[in-house]
Each structure stands twice: as C-alpha cells, then as structure tokens.
Assembly symmetry: C2
Homo-oligomer: 304 residues x 2
Amino acid sequence: MNSSDTVAPENGLREALADAARRVEQTLDDVLPKPHGLHGRVHEAMRYATFAGGKRLRPFLVLESAKLFGVTGTVALRTAAAIEVLHTYSLVHDDLPCMDDDDLRRGRPTAHKAFDEATAVLAGDGLLTIAFEILARPETHPSAEVRCLLAQRLAEAAGSNGMIGGQMIDMRAPDSAFGAGEVVLLQRLKTGQLFEFACEAGPILAQAGSEHQERLRSYARDMGLVFQITDDLLDVTSTAEKTGKAVGKDEEAGKATLVSILGVEGARSEAATVAGRAISALAPYGSKAAALKDLLPFMLTRDS
Amino acid sequence: MNSSDTVAPENGLREALADAARRVEQTLDDVLPKPHGLHGRVHEAMRYATFAGGKRLRPFLVLESAKLFGVTGTVALRTAAAIEVLHTYSLVHDDLPCMDDDDLRRGRPTAHKAFDEATAVLAGDGLLTIAFEILARPETHPSAEVRCLLAQRLAEAAGSNGMIGGQMIDMRAPDSAFGAGEVVLLQRLKTGQLFEFACEAGPILAQAGSEHQERLRSYARDMGLVFQITDDLLDVTSTAEKTGKAVGKDEEAGKATLVSILGVEGARSEAATVAGRAISALAPYGSKAAALKDLLPFMLTRDS
C-alpha cells in the first residue's frame, strides 16, 4: 500500500507524480549496476544520467496504464524502470556534441560534460542494453510471452523506425521548411512512440487485448503531441532558469515547430483541442483513469 | 539443404565460413529496414556498416553450435543475425572519433567517415535496438521462454558488465601497465562475452540444458582468447594491406597485450595451449563439432 493508491489524482497530480517517481527511482537503484571493477566509470555515468531529478513522466504512464487493469507492484515498476533507462539513454546520446551539443540538462552538466564523450556514448549504450535485460528477465512478468511482446514493442518504438528515426530527421533538417505534417511526424517518431509504448505497456502487462492497447496508444499519441506543443511553447515563452535547460534554441536553429507554424495562440488552441480528444479516449475507464486525464490540463498549464 | 551441411569442415572451413556468411547476409537483408522516409539515412548507415564483408565469425558460431543439437534454418539464422547486428553496432561506436578514432574498417571508410558522426551514433543505436527486436519476435523461436533467455543473455554479454565494460576499460587505460590478468579480463569482457553468447545460443535454442551451455561457453572463452592473441600478433606482424585496417596501433598507443607481455613466441605458445583446451571441451560432440574444432588451427595460422 502506498500513497499513490489513495491520493485522488484530481487533487494531487503533482503528489502522484512525485510518489511514482520515488517508487521508480528505488527500482532504478535496484536494477542498475553499482559502480565496481576497472569499468566502474561507465556505471557511474549511467547512474549520473539516470538520477538527475527528471519528472519520470514515462514511468508514471506505465504505472497508471497498468493500474487501469489492476496491475501494480514489481511487474509495473520494472517495466516503468526499463522505459525510463531507455529514455535516459536517448537524452545522453542526443546531448552529444555531434548531435544537439547540449551542455546543460535538468540544470546540471550533461553526461559528456560531467564525464567525457566516450564515457557518455558507452553509458548510453549500457542504458539501452539494460532496458531490454530488465524486460527479458523472469522477475518482470510470469509470462515469457508478455516479456517478449514488451521487448519487441519497445524495440519498435525506440528503433530506427521510431525514436531513432525521429532524431535522424531532426538532425538532418534543422532549418528545413517543414510543414505541419512533417513536424507532427517528427514529433510522433522522436517522442510520441515512446509515450505510446509507455501507455500500451499497461494492457500488455494485463494481457487485456489489442483493443485496449490501441485505445491507450491513441490517448498517448494525443498526449505526446500536447507535450511537444507545450514544450515548444516553453522554448519560446520561458526562461532557462525555470526549465533547467537552454531555451530559444528552436528559433536560433531556424527549426520549424507547430508554434512557428501556427503561432503561439494557434498552437495553444491546437494543444487544447488535442488534449480534449486524449481525455475522451479514456472515457471507458471512468475514474480509474483520473490521473491520466488530469495530465492534460496539467501539461497545458505547466511552466517548466 | 546447402553446402555447409555436406562439406566436411576439416576440408573446407573457409568454404563453410563463406557459406554461413552468405546465408546470414540473406537473413540480415531480410531483417534490416530498407531505407525509406525522411529518416532513410539512418537505415542506409545501418546497412552500410552491416554489409561490409566481415568474416561473420559470430554468426558462424551460432549456426555451428545450434547444429550440434539439430537446430537449423530460420531459428538459427535469425539468432545469428541478431548477434551480427549487435557486433556491428559495437564496431560503429568503437570507431567514433571520441573512442578509437578509426577512419578505416574492413578496407572501407568507417560509418562516421562515410556518413557523419551523428548518423553513425544513431545507426549504432538502431543496430543495437533491432538486435533485441529480432530475438523477441515470435519468428525467431516457438518458445517465448527461449526468446527471453536469448535476449537476457545477449544483454548481459553486451552490457556494461560485458562488452561495454570492456570498451570502458580499454578507453580509460590505453597506456596502463596492465599485467596478464587485466589484459585477459579486458579481452574477456570486450570480445569474449559475445563469443560466449554466440556459442551458448545453440544449446539455448535447443533447450539442451545448462550443462551444455556451460560447455559451449567454456569452448568460446578459450576460442575468444586465441582470437584475441592472434589479432594482437597480426597487429605486430602483419600489414594494413592484408588486414584491411590500421596495424601497429597497440604499440603506438602503448597498450599492453599478451604479445607485449609474453613476447611474440610466448604469445604463440600460449595461444596453442589454449586452443588445445578449447578443442578438448568439444570432445563429447564428436565429428558434429568438427567445424568448431577446426576454427582453432584456422585462427592460429590466419594472416588477416
């Protein structure tokens, strides 16, 4: 029993997020290797990148989507941890000098600044690899069919036709004259697919069937788009102090976003419409989906 | 039916290797995404790195270890392909400027020279990710338990306590005064663990039990050491023309190897002893293990 099961999400989404983060961080501490041996530096870098005070949004999505179907405890937490280490690897590699060349992440030096480039590449590789180890291990779920499906879907979401493909597009065309279609595609690949997998993980863990998987993916698709639009809005309207990372980078790079295409007010309006659609998709789950629904207004009003 | 089943390995190890390479390359072509879409460049780089005419030694080990237990066809080929794409990712990342900074690989420009650094990082990430997708998919084996065990063992062999850990040690201490113990540990992590997994894959696919897994791992441990010693010997005694890559790099980097510690003759003698032990481990499999046994004299006398 823990507080996230008792706090009404409507009244405490921040608390629910913080509580989920604490539980996932305990699991992350359990599954990541402790630094040891001649190669301990790579473990240190993996932990440095992982324990950086992120929002743990993807793990939260896993825990909440699992809870819709009565799945809690170790099964949900290990799956959540696998997605978070995979997400962390993508941040470490995206920050590299040859990629986005970021010195600051969540208010701290990025992994290649705190360590060095080679260590950052290896730490990212290590995090990506252990994500699949976590999912494949028997402790994650009694059914090997479920574990294989999790690993397959994660690989698809994160692979060269998913997240990696999105980063490839982003690297190739920072100043391209993308229209709304390309911008939405890029976002869906780069960040959306992992959100979709995080939300689909619940029905997969519960073996609830493909209809529920599709419904949760549909929610996540829209939620991910709202997340990206509000992220782009913050890049235009916020300060580095508030977000803990460099801002104004999109405009500086001449990068097309839904904000640059639709304008600030147009993007806000689009985000609100898509948020409404995301909430509607969860109607069949009633109050059990309160936290997932509350995430939308929470995103629309976030300032960091 | 294909020639590798009929050619006696004693008489045609080169032919058996070439035949296995052809079959695995067909499978690699089937499983790797065809370049398409705005992100097609990452698929191109994944294929460029993969289809570079390597010896396909690891896939050969998978096919031969599987054949010991009567496992052939798609099951063995997909597992072999998974290991080869994982091996390829490690070459792409190891060649990066921040790592070993190699311009030449198998006689061609390395991926970051032929494309660019960002694309090489992403292509490596994509290859690593798809290795697990291949193993997790139902086409690879009817038993999900087997697929999960393959994925788990591959992740352990390739992860931060395996191959990545070995590369970390190699990056940190290129001029360190390593003794034979550290050099063997480094090799076992950096290249040995993946050889061990390749050979263990056969008994795993056949669900032959842990005793066979351990026996094949023991063979691979020794075979991997012979491979490394002969690689180090080539670095001292061969030419770039023959090996298709830069030579003399170990000495230039002041890197300790078993050759620098034991001398050329001492290292040759050690390799022969270890090779004999590797062959002995396969005694219970009789003539079915002929190709795996023949690999040892083949390595001891290789010149590229």
